[in-house]
Symmetry: C2
Subunit: 354 residues, 2 copies
């Protein structure tokens, strides 16, 4: 049975629209009886439908961070020029997810939610863009972390329909190290006795597990130098403990455990090589989009070299390294120098002939 | 009440001697009524007592790895030239520890074990060497990870008595990132319902927590490239899962949870600046030993730059970076290229005029 969680509401997330795709068959064999995607759009689609940009979301993320940090009239993602569609990933708490599965989806609520793959998200996004907006071709697909996984999946799966692509801080094929990191994240949650095999009655029952999960993000999400230089002081905290209690812990404890686990499994098993019988080079070789691959130099679990390896296999792709001491969670755009770099690399990409 | 654990026996650990120091007052205010240090020696002390080398142990480690990997007639740590004393740290399961506290120590068994600091270990080692072996001056102090913390503590606390020092893959002042990593390690264990606040009846009661603890070592202990290159194949495993189940998990699940927690707290709070009113530069400035500081290039939680920062503050110290894709757990000496590098840098240090 679905449960209430005030975090996943318009009050917290502002404007977004739920768009139904009806019954949606998943690659792992499950079915979502009535898939609802939470979509936020910015700007206007031109008549020729040639100015559409798709933005994909990351683990624990929603459209909100893109609205607040990445999109704006002074940004590369300019709603005065482009029609920007941010699609919340399946399981993120706003789109159909374990905790909110009700009505036609009541049979897949909570622990009964089927396994979802990156490929499912991308197929759903393609269907949404085509059927709902009449968009057949994208000016740009961009996303960070799991959003980068979805971006690569677009590049491999729909090569003729993506003009430009910008995967930020994420890989096309999840690495074994990331597999182990996500395993630790999952176990931090599922080991909490309050989790009850996914049949808790409130996310508050799993607060201890969610705090340990936040603690793992503290270790891997930022860089060693972030902590050493006490960069959290710039956010007006006066100790790392206060930063944990006032930032990372409330961020994650507000969320739904099953939703996080749905995304974690998807992340863990992300692999575009599945489209080519396990051959990563062949899969990435299908890309036709002009691409900028943007690792963050201090990222501890999507390190630069993992991006370089895939860039070598991807036609039309160039690496642009973002300098940010925050590491992977630099994606939040907290450092004043972050978004300017993203803008520069995205603008360069948008201005190039594709 | 102390409990049995077959891992901490001569059957598993070979020859070592228990040497009693009697009542030992700890810096945090506790007392060990009868401190027993487990000591393994190699070679012979010369008449002038000028050929003594002290080796300190790391988190979860014992004298065993030094006997098997680091010490030998073909090594820099040559028992035909030196008298090598390996002292197991307090709480490591062989020296007086939570799980084995009995007899006079019965009152501090298990959850009642007092907090121990790196400084306590070093004071106990100094007393042991002086009173038991008549050693006033050390040719060399060497240790890795928490053993490096002890090495630095010797350099700062007993500057006239350490001729040479070699901290490997560890820092004089524990970093905030390492604080958070050890916190996650601690919570992996204490969150297991079988832990029962430290009053379990067997380490097997805490097997789930110990496995999660091993899982965190998989994420942080090796490098991302270790997993990507499948270096575990060289150890004759055929999957990363088999490596976890056949190597890291049995390694840690054999150990005592309270013993690991005693060491984790000690590691977490390691800081030579305590000897100088919190001034790290002043503390490290006291060093008189010729030192080689040896980070491992792929170490994820004692990264090279943290060593460089301290090397700048330490007189007579030079950095020698060890190249090892295993990362921190390169300390195990699994890579065939590891011990040769350590030998080279230690030999260079032993051959230099101190």
């Amino acid at each position: 049975m679905a449960i209430e969680n005030p975090y996943y509401t318009h009050e917290f997330h502002g404007d977004y629209e739920l768009i139904g795709l009806g019954e949606f068959a998943l690659e792992e064999g499950g079915v979502i009886p009535d898939l609802q995607l939470a979509v936020a759009t910015f700007g206007t689609l031109n008549e020729a439908r040639t100015n559409a940009i798709l933005v994909t979301t990351w683990y624990s993320g929603t459209h909100q961070i893109f609205r607040d940090v990445y999109i704006g009239p002074d940004r590369a993602l300019n709603p005065e020029k482009y029609f920007i569609v941010v699609v919340n990933q399946i399981g993120n708490g706003l789109s159909t997810s374990p905790h909110n599965a009700s009505g036609a989806n009541a049979g897949i609520a909570m622990s009964k939610f089927p396994r979802v793959r990156i490929g499912d998200d991308v197929r759903a996004q393609e269907q949404l863009l085509r059927e709902h907006f009449g968009i057949e071709r994208l000016k740009l697909v961009v996303g960070g972390s799991m959003g980068a996984q979805q971006t690569y999946e677009w590049m491999v799966r729909f090569p003729g329909r993506v003009e430009r692509a910008a995967p930020i801080a994420g890989t096309a094929q999840n690495t074994p190290h990331d597999y182990l990191f996500t395993k630790a994240l999952v176990e931090a949650i599922t080991s909490d006795p309050g989790f009850k095999g996914g049949e808790y009655s409130s996310n508050a029952d799993v607060v201890d597990g969610l705090k340990r999960h936040a603690g793992l993000w503290a270790v891997m999400g930022f860089s060693t130098e972030f902590w050493k230089q006490e960069v959290w002081r710039a956010l007006e905290f006066d100790s790392k403990e206060a930063f944990m209690e006032g930032f990372l812990e409330p961020y994650f404890t507000a969320m739904d455990p099953n939703d996080l686990l749905c995304m974690a499994w998807k992340w863990q098993h992300g692999d575009v090589a599945r489209n080519a019988g396990g051959d990563l080079a062949e899969a990435l070789g299908r890309n036709e989009a002009l691409a900028r691959i943007m690792p963050i130099n201090e990222d501890m679990f999507f390190p630069v070299r993992d991006h370089e390896h895939e860039a070598e296999l991807t036609p039309h792709a160039t690496i642009r390294v973002i300098d940010d001491v925050l590491g992977h969670l630099g994606l939040f755009g907290v450092a004043p120098t972050y978004i300017g770099q993203v803008d520069q690399y995205l603008q360069e990409l948008l201005d190039a002939d594709a």
